[in-house]
Protein backbone atom coordinates (compact mmCIF):
# COMPACT_ATOMS: atom_id res chain seq x y z
CA UNK A 1 0.00 0.00 0.00
CA UNK A 2 2.84 2.28 0.96
CA UNK A 3 4.44 1.59 -2.34
CA UNK A 4 1.32 2.60 -4.21
CA UNK A 5 1.01 5.76 -2.19
CA UNK A 6 4.65 6.58 -2.86
CA UNK A 7 4.21 6.06 -6.60
CA UNK A 8 1.13 8.24 -6.59
CA UNK A 9 3.09 11.05 -4.98
CA UNK A 10 5.97 10.67 -7.37
CA UNK A 11 3.59 10.73 -10.32
CA UNK A 12 1.83 13.81 -9.00
CA UNK A 13 5.10 15.64 -8.42
CA UNK A 14 6.44 14.74 -11.84
CA UNK A 15 3.25 15.89 -13.50
CA UNK A 16 3.24 19.22 -11.72
CA UNK A 17 6.91 19.70 -12.54
CA UNK A 18 6.37 18.92 -16.21
CA UNK A 19 3.35 21.20 -16.40
CA UNK A 20 5.18 24.08 -14.82
CA UNK A 21 8.19 23.52 -17.09
CA UNK A 22 6.10 23.41 -20.23
CA UNK A 23 4.22 26.53 -19.17
CA UNK A 24 7.49 28.34 -18.60
CA UNK A 25 8.80 27.18 -21.93
CA UNK A 26 5.64 28.13 -23.74
CA UNK A 27 5.96 31.62 -22.39
CA UNK A 28 9.11 32.45 -24.13
CA UNK A 29 11.74 29.87 -24.75
CA UNK A 30 11.03 29.43 -28.42
CA UNK A 31 14.27 29.72 -30.38
CA UNK A 32 12.84 32.42 -32.53
CA UNK A 33 11.74 34.64 -29.65
CA UNK A 34 13.25 36.13 -26.51
CA UNK A 35 12.14 34.50 -23.28
CA UNK A 36 11.14 37.66 -21.46
CA UNK A 37 8.57 40.32 -22.16
CA UNK A 38 7.75 40.77 -25.80
CA UNK A 39 10.19 43.54 -26.55
CA UNK A 40 10.87 44.14 -30.20
CA UNK A 41 13.86 42.24 -31.58
CA UNK A 42 16.74 44.23 -32.93
CA UNK A 43 16.12 42.78 -36.35
CA UNK A 44 12.50 43.80 -36.24
CA UNK A 45 13.27 47.41 -35.47
CA UNK A 46 12.25 49.56 -38.36
CA UNK A 47 14.19 52.58 -39.29
CA UNK A 48 11.63 55.09 -40.59
CA UNK A 49 13.91 55.90 -43.48
CA UNK A 50 13.93 52.26 -44.53
CA UNK A 51 10.20 51.72 -44.78
CA UNK A 52 9.95 52.69 -48.41
CA UNK A 53 13.08 53.06 -50.43
CA UNK A 54 12.93 54.50 -53.89
CA UNK A 55 14.54 52.49 -56.60
CA UNK A 56 15.09 53.32 -60.21
CA UNK A 57 15.57 49.68 -61.09
CA UNK A 58 13.89 48.65 -64.28
CA UNK A 59 12.04 45.48 -65.02
CA UNK A 60 13.00 43.58 -68.16
CA UNK A 61 10.18 41.64 -69.75
CA UNK A 62 11.05 39.42 -72.68
CA UNK A 63 7.87 39.30 -74.76
CA UNK A 64 6.99 37.11 -77.71
CA UNK A 65 4.11 38.09 -79.93
CA UNK A 66 2.40 35.80 -82.41
CA UNK A 67 -0.49 36.50 -84.71
CA UNK A 68 -3.67 34.46 -84.75
CA UNK A 69 -1.98 31.95 -87.06
CA UNK A 70 0.89 31.49 -84.67
CA UNK A 71 3.46 33.37 -86.73
CA UNK A 72 5.92 35.63 -84.95
CA UNK A 73 5.03 39.32 -85.10
CA UNK A 74 8.27 41.26 -85.33
CA UNK A 75 7.29 44.77 -86.36
CA UNK A 76 5.73 46.19 -83.21
CA UNK A 77 6.92 49.42 -81.60
CA UNK A 78 6.67 50.71 -78.07
CA UNK A 79 3.28 52.30 -78.81
CA UNK A 80 1.85 48.86 -79.56
CA UNK A 81 2.43 47.57 -76.02
CA UNK A 82 0.56 48.01 -72.75
CA UNK A 83 2.04 46.73 -69.51
CA UNK A 84 0.00 46.24 -66.34
CA UNK A 85 1.47 45.51 -62.96
CA UNK A 86 -0.98 44.24 -60.37
CA UNK A 87 -3.69 45.64 -62.60
CA UNK A 88 -2.20 49.13 -62.95
CA UNK A 89 -1.00 50.41 -66.31
CA UNK A 90 2.73 51.18 -66.30
CA UNK A 91 4.35 53.97 -68.32
CA UNK A 92 6.68 52.87 -71.10
CA UNK A 93 9.52 55.20 -72.00
CA UNK A 94 10.98 55.77 -75.44
CA UNK A 95 13.68 53.29 -74.49
CA UNK A 96 11.19 50.62 -73.60
CA UNK A 97 12.26 48.36 -76.45
CA UNK A 98 15.94 47.48 -76.70
CA UNK A 99 18.24 44.96 -78.28
CA UNK A 100 19.60 42.69 -75.61
CA UNK A 101 21.79 39.60 -76.02
CA UNK A 102 20.47 36.36 -74.62
CA UNK A 103 22.13 33.92 -72.25
CA UNK A 104 20.80 30.44 -72.92
CA UNK A 105 21.15 27.52 -70.54
CA UNK A 106 20.71 24.30 -72.48
CA UNK A 107 19.63 21.47 -70.24
CA UNK A 108 19.32 17.78 -70.93
CA UNK A 109 17.64 15.14 -68.85
CA UNK A 110 20.26 12.39 -69.01
CA UNK A 111 17.96 9.90 -67.36
CA UNK A 112 15.19 9.95 -69.91
CA UNK A 113 14.99 8.39 -73.33
CA UNK A 114 16.53 11.63 -74.64
CA UNK A 115 19.87 10.36 -73.38
CA UNK A 116 19.55 7.39 -75.71
CA UNK A 117 19.19 9.78 -78.62
CA UNK A 118 22.12 12.05 -77.94
CA UNK A 119 23.11 12.33 -81.59
CA UNK A 120 19.78 13.99 -82.37
CA UNK A 121 20.25 16.33 -79.42
CA UNK A 122 23.82 17.23 -80.45
CA UNK A 123 22.73 17.99 -83.98
CA UNK A 124 19.83 20.11 -82.78
CA UNK A 125 22.01 22.06 -80.34
CA UNK A 126 24.67 22.75 -82.93
CA UNK A 127 22.03 24.02 -85.31
CA UNK A 128 20.58 26.14 -82.52
CA UNK A 129 23.97 27.66 -81.65
CA UNK A 130 24.51 28.56 -85.27
CA UNK A 131 21.41 30.73 -85.19
CA UNK A 132 22.37 32.81 -82.17
CA UNK A 133 23.83 36.30 -82.30
CA UNK A 134 27.47 37.28 -81.70
CA UNK A 135 26.92 38.39 -78.13
CA UNK A 136 24.66 35.55 -77.13
CA UNK A 137 26.09 32.89 -74.84
CA UNK A 138 25.34 29.25 -74.14
CA UNK A 139 25.99 26.99 -71.20
CA UNK A 140 25.10 23.33 -70.82
CA UNK A 141 23.69 21.50 -67.82
CA UNK A 142 23.11 17.79 -67.60
CA UNK A 143 20.87 16.40 -64.92
CA UNK A 144 20.01 12.95 -63.68
CA UNK A 145 20.77 11.92 -60.10
CA UNK A 146 22.99 14.99 -59.94
CA UNK A 147 22.98 18.34 -61.64
CA UNK A 148 26.19 19.08 -63.49
CA UNK A 149 27.38 22.11 -65.37
CA UNK A 150 29.06 20.46 -68.32
CA UNK A 151 29.96 23.71 -70.03
CA UNK A 152 30.07 27.16 -68.52
CA UNK A 153 29.20 30.21 -70.61
CA UNK A 154 30.76 30.06 -74.01
CA UNK A 155 30.44 31.55 -77.45
CA UNK A 156 32.63 28.86 -78.91
CA UNK A 157 30.95 26.22 -80.98
CA UNK A 158 33.93 23.91 -80.59
CA UNK A 159 33.68 24.04 -76.82
CA UNK A 160 29.96 23.45 -77.06
CA UNK A 161 30.49 20.46 -79.35
CA UNK A 162 33.15 19.06 -77.02
CA UNK A 163 30.82 19.46 -74.06
CA UNK A 164 28.05 17.58 -75.84
CA UNK A 165 30.40 14.62 -76.04
CA UNK A 166 30.75 14.61 -72.29
CA UNK A 167 27.10 13.80 -71.65
CA UNK A 168 26.61 10.28 -70.37
CA UNK A 169 23.25 8.70 -69.52
CA UNK A 170 22.30 8.45 -65.85
CA UNK A 171 19.48 7.32 -63.61
CA UNK A 172 16.79 9.19 -61.66
CA UNK A 173 15.82 12.76 -62.40
CA UNK A 174 16.37 15.84 -60.29
CA UNK A 175 14.33 18.00 -62.61
CA UNK A 176 13.21 20.56 -60.02
CA UNK A 177 16.70 20.87 -58.54
CA UNK A 178 18.13 21.34 -62.01
CA UNK A 179 15.75 24.19 -62.81
CA UNK A 180 16.44 25.88 -59.50
CA UNK A 181 20.21 25.58 -59.89
CA UNK A 182 20.16 26.80 -63.47
CA UNK A 183 18.21 29.86 -62.34
CA UNK A 184 20.27 30.59 -59.26
CA UNK A 185 23.75 29.66 -60.33
CA UNK A 186 23.86 30.33 -64.03
CA UNK A 187 21.48 33.21 -64.54
CA UNK A 188 22.81 35.76 -62.09
CA UNK A 189 23.73 38.45 -64.58
CA UNK A 190 21.02 41.08 -64.80
CA UNK A 191 22.12 42.55 -68.11
CA UNK A 192 21.12 39.93 -70.63
CA UNK A 193 17.89 38.20 -71.43
CA UNK A 194 17.76 34.77 -69.83
CA UNK A 195 16.44 31.62 -71.43
CA UNK A 196 16.47 27.97 -70.51
CA UNK A 197 15.80 25.23 -73.04
CA UNK A 198 15.36 21.85 -71.46
CA UNK A 199 14.94 18.49 -73.10
CA UNK A 200 13.09 16.28 -70.64
CA UNK A 201 9.94 14.36 -69.82
CA UNK A 202 9.61 16.58 -66.74
CA UNK A 203 9.08 13.71 -64.32
CA UNK A 204 11.05 14.40 -61.17
CA UNK A 205 12.16 11.31 -59.25
CA UNK A 206 11.63 12.98 -55.91
CA UNK A 207 15.24 12.52 -54.88
CA UNK A 208 16.03 16.21 -54.81
CA UNK A 209 15.39 19.06 -52.45
CA UNK A 210 13.19 21.33 -54.51
CA UNK A 211 9.49 21.57 -55.24
CA UNK A 212 8.31 22.65 -58.66
CA UNK A 213 6.88 25.81 -57.09
CA UNK A 214 10.26 26.69 -55.59
CA UNK A 215 11.93 26.03 -58.92
CA UNK A 216 9.40 28.28 -60.63
CA UNK A 217 9.97 31.00 -58.08
CA UNK A 218 13.70 30.88 -58.78
CA UNK A 219 13.06 31.00 -62.49
CA UNK A 220 10.86 34.07 -62.13
CA UNK A 221 13.41 35.69 -59.84
CA UNK A 222 16.11 35.02 -62.43
CA UNK A 223 13.79 36.42 -65.10
CA UNK A 224 14.26 33.30 -67.16
CA UNK A 225 12.06 32.27 -70.05
CA UNK A 226 11.74 28.49 -70.08
CA UNK A 227 11.25 26.41 -73.20
CA UNK A 228 10.65 22.73 -72.65
CA UNK A 229 11.21 20.23 -75.41
CA UNK A 230 9.27 17.36 -73.96
CA UNK A 231 9.73 13.78 -75.06
CA UNK A 232 6.44 12.88 -73.40
CA UNK A 233 4.64 12.48 -76.72
CA UNK A 234 7.35 10.09 -77.94
CA UNK A 235 7.01 8.08 -74.75
CA UNK A 236 3.23 8.18 -74.92
CA UNK A 237 3.16 6.73 -78.42
CA UNK A 238 5.48 3.92 -77.34
CA UNK A 239 3.37 3.09 -74.31
CA UNK A 240 0.11 3.25 -76.24
CA UNK A 241 1.41 0.98 -78.95
CA UNK A 242 2.47 -1.58 -76.38
CA UNK A 243 -0.78 -1.24 -74.48
CA UNK A 244 -2.88 -1.59 -77.63
CA UNK A 245 -0.86 -4.57 -78.68
CA UNK A 246 -1.44 -6.33 -75.36
CA UNK A 247 -5.12 -5.41 -75.22
CA UNK A 248 -5.72 -6.71 -78.72
CA UNK A 249 -4.30 -10.13 -77.91
CA UNK A 250 -6.17 -13.09 -76.47
CA UNK A 251 -8.02 -12.81 -73.15
CA UNK A 252 -5.54 -15.17 -71.50
CA UNK A 253 -2.63 -13.02 -72.70
CA UNK A 254 -4.39 -9.93 -71.34
CA UNK A 255 -4.82 -11.66 -67.98
CA UNK A 256 -1.20 -12.78 -68.02
CA UNK A 257 -0.05 -9.19 -68.67
CA UNK A 258 -2.32 -7.56 -66.13
CA UNK A 259 0.55 -6.03 -64.20
CA UNK A 260 2.18 -4.68 -67.32
CA UNK A 261 -1.13 -3.19 -68.44
CA UNK A 262 -1.50 -1.40 -65.13
CA UNK A 263 2.06 -0.19 -65.38
CA UNK A 264 1.52 1.22 -68.85
CA UNK A 265 -1.72 2.94 -67.86
CA UNK A 266 -0.05 4.49 -64.86
CA UNK A 267 2.82 5.59 -67.07
CA UNK A 268 0.39 7.28 -69.45
CA UNK A 269 -1.28 9.05 -66.56
CA UNK A 270 2.06 10.30 -65.28
CA UNK A 271 2.95 11.59 -68.73
CA UNK A 272 -0.34 13.51 -68.92
CA UNK A 273 0.23 15.04 -65.50
CA UNK A 274 3.80 15.93 -66.38
CA UNK A 275 2.71 17.68 -69.56
CA UNK A 276 0.18 19.73 -67.62
CA UNK A 277 2.87 20.79 -65.19
CA UNK A 278 5.35 21.59 -67.96
CA UNK A 279 2.74 23.63 -69.80
CA UNK A 280 2.19 25.71 -66.69
CA UNK A 281 5.87 26.13 -66.08
CA UNK A 282 6.57 27.37 -69.59
CA UNK A 283 3.48 29.55 -69.68
CA UNK A 284 4.36 31.20 -66.35
CA UNK A 285 7.81 32.12 -67.57
CA UNK A 286 6.65 33.32 -70.99
CA UNK A 287 8.16 30.33 -72.77
CA UNK A 288 6.68 27.45 -74.69
CA UNK A 289 6.18 23.71 -74.47
CA UNK A 290 7.15 21.67 -77.51
CA UNK A 291 6.12 18.07 -77.87
CA UNK A 292 7.91 16.60 -80.88
CA UNK A 293 6.59 13.29 -82.14
CA UNK A 294 10.09 11.92 -82.66
CA UNK A 295 13.68 12.76 -81.87
CA UNK A 296 14.22 13.46 -85.57
CA UNK A 297 12.20 16.63 -85.04
CA UNK A 298 14.58 18.08 -82.45
CA UNK A 299 16.39 20.00 -85.18
CA UNK A 300 13.32 21.92 -86.22
CA UNK A 301 12.12 22.46 -82.64
CA UNK A 302 15.44 23.98 -81.50
CA UNK A 303 15.55 26.07 -84.65
CA UNK A 304 12.08 27.39 -83.83
CA UNK A 305 13.17 28.32 -80.31
CA UNK A 306 16.22 30.12 -81.71
CA UNK A 307 13.95 31.99 -84.09
CA UNK A 308 11.68 32.99 -81.22
CA UNK A 309 14.61 34.19 -79.11
CA UNK A 310 15.93 36.26 -81.98
CA UNK A 311 12.57 37.96 -82.42
CA UNK A 312 11.69 38.35 -78.78
CA UNK A 313 10.94 41.91 -77.66
CA UNK A 314 12.97 43.09 -74.68
CA UNK A 315 10.50 45.39 -72.99
CA UNK A 316 11.76 47.60 -70.17
CA UNK A 317 9.74 49.67 -67.74
CA UNK A 318 10.20 51.34 -64.39
CA UNK A 319 7.43 50.16 -62.06
CA UNK A 320 5.20 52.81 -60.50
CA UNK A 321 5.33 50.86 -57.26
CA UNK A 322 8.86 51.54 -56.09
CA UNK A 323 8.68 49.74 -52.75
CA UNK A 324 11.48 47.25 -52.30
CA UNK A 325 9.32 44.81 -50.46
CA UNK A 326 10.31 41.55 -52.13
CA UNK A 327 6.66 40.96 -53.03
CA UNK A 328 5.50 39.04 -56.07
CA UNK A 329 3.95 41.37 -58.60
CA UNK A 330 1.72 40.12 -61.34
CA UNK A 331 2.42 41.47 -64.77
CA UNK A 332 0.31 41.43 -67.87
CA UNK A 333 1.38 42.54 -71.32
CA UNK A 334 -1.08 43.39 -74.06
CA UNK A 335 -0.72 44.64 -77.59
CA UNK A 336 -3.02 47.16 -79.23
CA UNK A 337 -4.12 44.41 -81.59
CA UNK A 338 -6.13 42.07 -79.35
CA UNK A 339 -5.88 39.23 -81.84
CA UNK A 340 -2.19 38.87 -81.09
CA UNK A 341 -1.07 36.16 -78.68
CA UNK A 342 1.38 37.61 -76.19
CA UNK A 343 3.77 35.43 -74.19
CA UNK A 344 5.47 37.02 -71.20
CA UNK A 345 6.21 35.84 -67.73
CA UNK A 346 3.40 36.14 -65.21
CA UNK A 347 5.25 38.44 -62.87
CA UNK A 348 8.40 39.17 -60.96
CA UNK A 349 9.64 39.58 -57.42
CA UNK A 350 10.31 43.12 -56.34
CA UNK A 351 13.77 43.60 -54.92
CA UNK A 352 13.97 43.55 -51.16
CA UNK A 353 15.85 46.08 -49.12
Amino acid sequence: MRTLKGWTRILLCCSLLLLSLSAANAQGDKLGEPPTMPTPNKEQEIDPGDVISVSTSEVLLPVTVRDREGKLVTTLTRENFRVFEDGKAQPLSDLALRQVPVDVVLMIDASSSAAANLDDFRRAVEGFAAKLGPEDRISLIKFDDSVELIQDWTQSRVQLRRSLNRIVPGVFTRFNDALLLAAREQLKSAHNRHAIIVLTDGIDSGRGYTTIEAALKSLLTAQATVYVVSNTEIERVKKREELDSILSSTPSAVRFNELRIGDLREGLRVLDASETSLAQLTSATGGRLYKPASFDQLDSVYAEVAEELRHQYALYYTPLDKARDGRFRRVKVETTDPSNQVSARIGYFAPSR
Binding site: S22, E43, P134, L181, G202, E213, R240
Partner: protein
Amino acid sequence: MKNIFVKLSLTLMLLSCLSFSALAQQRTEAPLTNAAVIKLVRAGFKEKTVIAIIRSRPTQFDLSPDRLIELKHDGVSENIILAMLSNDNGDIAESDDWGNDPFFKDSPRAKNGDKNNEGETDIFGMSGGSNSRVKQRGAGGSSGGDTQSTGSATVRILRPPTEAGGTPKLERTPTLTNDSIVELVEAGFSEGTIVRRIEQSPADFDLTPQKLVELRRRHVSDRVIAAMTAAMSDDSSTGAKPQSSNP
Protein backbone atom coordinates in the same frame (compact mmCIF):
# COMPACT_ATOMS: atom_id res chain seq x y z
CA MET B 1 -9.27 8.31 -2.35
CA LYS B 2 -6.09 6.63 -3.51
CA ASN B 3 -7.76 5.92 -6.81
CA ILE B 4 -8.61 9.57 -7.21
CA PHE B 5 -4.99 10.47 -6.58
CA VAL B 6 -3.79 7.94 -9.10
CA LYS B 7 -6.28 9.15 -11.69
CA LEU B 8 -5.43 12.77 -11.05
CA SER B 9 -1.74 12.05 -11.39
CA LEU B 10 -2.18 10.14 -14.60
CA THR B 11 -4.39 12.88 -16.03
CA LEU B 12 -1.83 15.51 -15.15
CA MET B 13 0.93 13.40 -16.66
CA LEU B 14 -1.08 13.02 -19.85
CA LEU B 15 -1.74 16.75 -19.98
CA SER B 16 1.95 17.45 -19.49
CA CYS B 17 2.93 15.13 -22.29
CA LEU B 18 0.35 16.70 -24.57
CA SER B 19 1.50 20.19 -23.79
CA PHE B 20 5.11 19.19 -24.38
CA SER B 21 4.33 17.59 -27.70
CA ALA B 22 2.34 20.68 -28.72
CA LEU B 23 5.28 22.80 -27.71
CA ALA B 24 7.66 20.60 -29.63
CA GLN B 25 5.43 20.91 -32.66
CA GLN B 26 5.40 24.67 -32.27
CA ARG B 27 9.18 24.61 -32.02
CA THR B 28 9.64 22.69 -35.19
CA GLU B 29 7.49 25.17 -37.02
CA ALA B 30 8.95 28.39 -35.59
CA PRO B 31 11.59 29.68 -37.98
CA LEU B 32 15.03 30.43 -36.67
CA THR B 33 15.81 34.15 -36.58
CA ASN B 34 18.95 36.25 -36.13
CA ALA B 35 18.04 36.73 -32.48
CA ALA B 36 17.73 32.99 -31.95
CA VAL B 37 21.18 32.38 -33.42
CA ILE B 38 22.70 35.06 -31.17
CA LYS B 39 20.97 33.43 -28.23
CA LEU B 40 22.41 30.03 -29.08
CA VAL B 41 25.90 31.49 -29.44
CA ARG B 42 25.63 33.34 -26.14
CA ALA B 43 24.35 30.18 -24.50
CA GLY B 44 27.72 28.65 -25.33
CA PHE B 45 26.75 26.18 -28.03
CA LYS B 46 29.66 25.04 -30.16
CA GLU B 47 29.95 26.47 -33.66
CA LYS B 48 29.22 23.14 -35.34
CA THR B 49 26.15 22.61 -33.15
CA VAL B 50 24.73 26.00 -34.08
CA ILE B 51 25.40 25.25 -37.76
CA ALA B 52 23.66 21.89 -37.44
CA ILE B 53 20.65 23.60 -35.85
CA ILE B 54 20.56 26.18 -38.66
CA ARG B 55 20.61 23.44 -41.26
CA SER B 56 17.90 21.42 -39.60
CA ARG B 57 15.34 24.17 -39.02
CA PRO B 58 13.26 26.50 -41.14
CA THR B 59 14.85 29.93 -41.09
CA GLN B 60 13.82 33.52 -41.43
CA PHE B 61 17.04 35.48 -41.27
CA ASP B 62 17.58 39.13 -41.98
CA LEU B 63 20.91 39.06 -43.76
CA SER B 64 21.16 42.63 -44.90
CA PRO B 65 24.69 44.04 -44.49
CA ASP B 66 23.78 45.98 -41.33
CA ARG B 67 22.33 42.90 -39.69
CA LEU B 68 25.35 40.84 -40.68
CA ILE B 69 27.59 43.39 -38.99
CA GLU B 70 25.38 43.18 -35.92
CA LEU B 71 25.70 39.42 -35.88
CA LYS B 72 29.46 39.76 -36.02
CA HIS B 73 29.43 42.27 -33.16
CA ASP B 74 27.26 39.90 -31.18
CA GLY B 75 29.93 37.22 -31.39
CA VAL B 76 28.48 35.08 -34.15
CA SER B 77 31.38 33.46 -36.01
CA GLU B 78 31.85 33.78 -39.75
CA ASN B 79 31.28 30.07 -40.25
CA ILE B 80 27.87 30.39 -38.62
CA ILE B 81 27.11 33.47 -40.71
CA LEU B 82 28.10 31.53 -43.82
CA ALA B 83 25.76 28.73 -42.79
CA MET B 84 22.99 31.30 -42.32
CA LEU B 85 23.67 32.75 -45.75
CA SER B 86 23.78 29.34 -47.33
CA ASN B 87 20.58 28.27 -45.62
CA ASP B 88 18.88 31.48 -46.64
CA ASN B 89 19.82 30.86 -50.26
CA GLY B 90 18.47 27.37 -50.11
CA ASP B 91 15.40 28.34 -48.21
CA ILE B 92 12.32 28.44 -50.30
CA ALA B 93 10.09 31.25 -49.20
CA GLU B 94 6.74 29.66 -49.57
CA SER B 95 5.24 31.57 -46.72
CA ASP B 96 4.73 34.77 -48.67
CA ASP B 97 1.73 35.53 -50.80
CA TRP B 98 3.43 33.84 -53.74
CA GLY B 99 1.89 30.47 -52.99
CA ASN B 100 -1.54 32.05 -53.10
CA ASP B 101 -1.08 33.42 -56.57
CA PRO B 102 -4.03 32.45 -58.76
CA PHE B 103 -1.58 30.80 -61.11
CA PHE B 104 -1.22 27.92 -58.71
CA LYS B 105 -4.87 27.53 -57.93
CA ASP B 106 -5.31 25.19 -60.88
CA SER B 107 -1.91 23.57 -60.80
CA PRO B 108 -1.73 19.81 -60.54
CA ARG B 109 0.42 20.31 -57.46
CA ALA B 110 -2.34 22.28 -55.78
CA LYS B 111 -4.88 19.70 -56.72
CA ASN B 112 -2.68 16.93 -55.44
CA GLY B 113 -3.32 18.23 -51.99
CA ASP B 114 -6.72 16.66 -52.33
CA LYS B 115 -5.96 13.00 -52.60
CA ASN B 116 -9.59 12.21 -53.22
CA ASN B 117 -9.50 13.83 -56.62
CA GLU B 118 -9.94 11.00 -58.97
CA GLY B 119 -7.45 10.44 -61.68
CA GLU B 120 -4.96 12.99 -60.49
CA THR B 121 -1.35 12.18 -60.20
CA ASP B 122 1.51 13.44 -58.15
CA ILE B 123 4.18 13.45 -60.77
CA PHE B 124 6.71 14.46 -58.18
CA GLY B 125 6.95 11.02 -56.72
CA MET B 126 4.12 8.62 -56.42
CA SER B 127 3.61 5.39 -54.69
CA GLY B 128 1.03 2.86 -53.84
CA GLY B 129 -1.58 1.10 -55.80
CA SER B 130 -3.64 3.06 -58.21
CA ASN B 131 -7.35 3.25 -58.33
CA SER B 132 -7.58 5.39 -61.33
CA ARG B 133 -9.77 6.36 -64.17
CA VAL B 134 -7.79 6.87 -67.31
CA LYS B 135 -9.16 8.96 -70.09
CA GLN B 136 -7.43 7.68 -73.15
CA ARG B 137 -7.19 9.10 -76.58
CA GLY B 138 -7.01 6.67 -79.40
CA ALA B 139 -3.44 6.01 -80.45
CA GLY B 140 -2.81 5.94 -84.15
CA GLY B 141 -6.34 4.89 -84.78
CA SER B 142 -5.75 1.60 -83.02
CA SER B 143 -8.36 2.29 -80.39
CA GLY B 144 -10.58 5.11 -81.41
CA GLY B 145 -12.63 7.33 -79.15
CA ASP B 146 -12.48 7.85 -75.42
CA THR B 147 -12.31 4.74 -73.36
CA GLN B 148 -12.75 4.51 -69.68
CA SER B 149 -10.90 1.79 -67.88
CA THR B 150 -10.72 1.15 -64.21
CA GLY B 151 -7.27 0.08 -63.19
CA SER B 152 -6.73 -2.23 -60.29
CA ALA B 153 -3.07 -2.85 -60.83
CA THR B 154 -0.62 -2.17 -58.06
CA VAL B 155 2.04 0.01 -59.52
CA ARG B 156 4.89 1.02 -57.35
CA ILE B 157 7.25 3.61 -58.63
CA LEU B 158 10.43 3.46 -56.66
CA ARG B 159 11.24 6.69 -54.92
CA PRO B 160 14.61 6.51 -53.20
CA PRO B 161 14.88 8.51 -50.02
CA THR B 162 16.00 12.09 -50.32
CA GLU B 163 19.12 12.95 -48.41
CA ALA B 164 18.17 14.65 -45.20
CA GLY B 165 18.47 18.42 -45.17
CA GLY B 166 20.82 20.42 -47.32
CA THR B 167 20.37 22.28 -50.55
CA PRO B 168 20.95 21.17 -54.12
CA LYS B 169 24.39 21.76 -55.52
CA LEU B 170 25.50 22.42 -59.05
CA GLU B 171 28.47 20.24 -59.84
CA ARG B 172 30.98 21.90 -62.09
CA THR B 173 33.64 20.45 -64.30
CA PRO B 174 36.41 23.02 -63.98
CA THR B 175 37.46 24.78 -67.15
CA LEU B 176 41.12 24.11 -67.90
CA THR B 177 43.43 27.02 -68.63
CA ASN B 178 47.15 27.31 -69.36
CA ASP B 179 47.79 27.74 -65.65
CA SER B 180 45.86 24.62 -64.68
CA ILE B 181 47.88 22.57 -67.19
CA VAL B 182 51.13 23.93 -65.77
CA GLU B 183 49.88 23.02 -62.30
CA LEU B 184 49.15 19.45 -63.43
CA VAL B 185 52.62 19.16 -64.99
CA GLU B 186 54.32 20.52 -61.91
CA ALA B 187 52.30 18.17 -59.72
CA GLY B 188 53.90 15.29 -61.63
CA PHE B 189 50.89 13.93 -63.53
CA SER B 190 51.75 11.80 -66.54
CA GLU B 191 51.25 13.04 -70.10
CA GLY B 192 48.51 10.48 -70.68
CA THR B 193 46.55 11.59 -67.63
CA ILE B 194 46.82 15.26 -68.55
CA VAL B 195 45.78 14.59 -72.14
CA ARG B 196 42.77 12.60 -70.98
CA ARG B 197 41.86 15.38 -68.58
CA ILE B 198 42.04 17.89 -71.42
CA GLU B 199 39.81 15.71 -73.58
CA GLN B 200 37.21 15.43 -70.83
CA SER B 201 37.12 19.03 -69.63
CA PRO B 202 35.92 22.37 -70.84
CA ALA B 203 38.95 24.32 -72.04
CA ASP B 204 39.91 27.91 -72.45
CA PHE B 205 43.54 27.86 -73.50
CA ASP B 206 45.56 30.81 -74.73
CA LEU B 207 47.76 29.38 -77.47
CA THR B 208 49.30 32.55 -78.81
CA PRO B 209 53.03 32.21 -79.71
CA GLN B 210 54.16 33.94 -76.50
CA LYS B 211 52.00 31.66 -74.36
CA LEU B 212 53.27 28.57 -76.18
CA VAL B 213 56.85 29.64 -75.44
CA GLU B 214 55.90 30.05 -71.80
CA LEU B 215 54.20 26.63 -71.69
CA ARG B 216 57.34 24.98 -73.06
CA ARG B 217 59.49 26.89 -70.60
CA ARG B 218 57.28 25.47 -67.84
CA HIS B 219 57.99 21.92 -69.12
CA VAL B 220 54.65 21.29 -70.80
CA SER B 221 55.38 18.60 -73.40
CA ASP B 222 54.59 18.79 -77.10
CA ARG B 223 52.06 15.99 -76.73
CA VAL B 224 50.15 17.94 -74.10
CA ILE B 225 50.35 21.12 -76.17
CA ALA B 226 49.02 19.16 -79.13
CA ALA B 227 46.05 18.05 -77.01
CA MET B 228 45.49 21.64 -75.91
CA THR B 229 45.59 22.77 -79.53
CA ALA B 230 43.13 20.05 -80.52
CA ALA B 231 40.78 21.17 -77.76
CA MET B 232 40.76 24.68 -79.18
CA SER B 233 41.12 23.87 -82.85
CA ASP B 234 38.59 24.57 -85.50
CA ASP B 235 37.19 27.10 -83.13
CA SER B 236 34.71 29.46 -84.63
CA SER B 237 32.89 31.65 -82.20
CA THR B 238 29.23 32.50 -82.57
CA GLY B 239 30.48 35.93 -83.60
CA ALA B 240 30.65 34.72 -87.17
CA LYS B 241 27.00 33.97 -87.19
CA PRO B 242 24.00 36.04 -88.15
CA GLN B 243 23.15 38.99 -85.96
CA SER B 244 20.49 38.60 -83.36
CA SER B 245 17.61 40.58 -84.63
CA ASN B 246 15.51 40.93 -81.52
CA PRO B 247 13.57 44.10 -82.19
